[in-house]
Amino acid sequence: MPEHSTSPFCDDQTVEERRVGRILMVCSVVWSASLIGCAWVAKFVTITSPALQLAVAAVPVVLGAITFWVFIKKLRAMDELQQRIQLEALGIGFAVGVLYEIGHTLYVRLADVQQPDGNLASVMLFAWIGAVLWGKWRY
């Protein structure tokens, strides 16, 4: 018989899914810290060496790649309904991101905005989180 978690908060996860989930949590925290750190360096520290500039920019990219790799491992450890919920949520997140980017780009051009700062990653992230919660509620 497969092992299941005995935690009342995680009764919908197998031990393997929970184990990968813990690794994902650690990776997410480290990645977030690297993002904050690199953003701080970009804002307050002047780096003249092109190699160092590239290295600083690469740190969150590499850590992000590791985090996404662990996320894929967690997806594989999920059962078929959880995978379906995630697939739908990722599709919704992607679609919302594309629509946001189209709308934002058109608005910036039409309104002649001087500082066209968008936040595509945040929009996609919140759309994905919302869609996962909606999927959990729906099934």
Binding site: M1, D12, E80, Q82, Y139
Partner: protein, 63 residues
């Protein structure tokens, strides 16, 4: 798709969590199948059939 999962489970006095453990799926999946919100994949349907010792068509039926 209709199914007799709840009846078969009750006959064995299993909770949804018990059945989920035996199938290696989440309790939410068992609940979603029982309430007809989710149709299982063919491998999972075969797993259910083996577990209950009954043919798939006797557990699931088209609406």
């Amino acid at each position: 798709m209709k199914n007799k999962l709840k009846v078969l489970r009750a006959e064995r006095d299993w909770s949804q969590a018990d059945l989920a453990k035996r199938l290696n799926v989440s309790r939410q999946t068992v609940n979603a199948i029982e309430t007809g919100k989710y149709d299982p994949s063919l491998p999972l349907a075969f797993k259910l059939a083996r577990l209950f010792g009954a043919p798939i068509e006797s557990i699931f039926e088209d609406k």
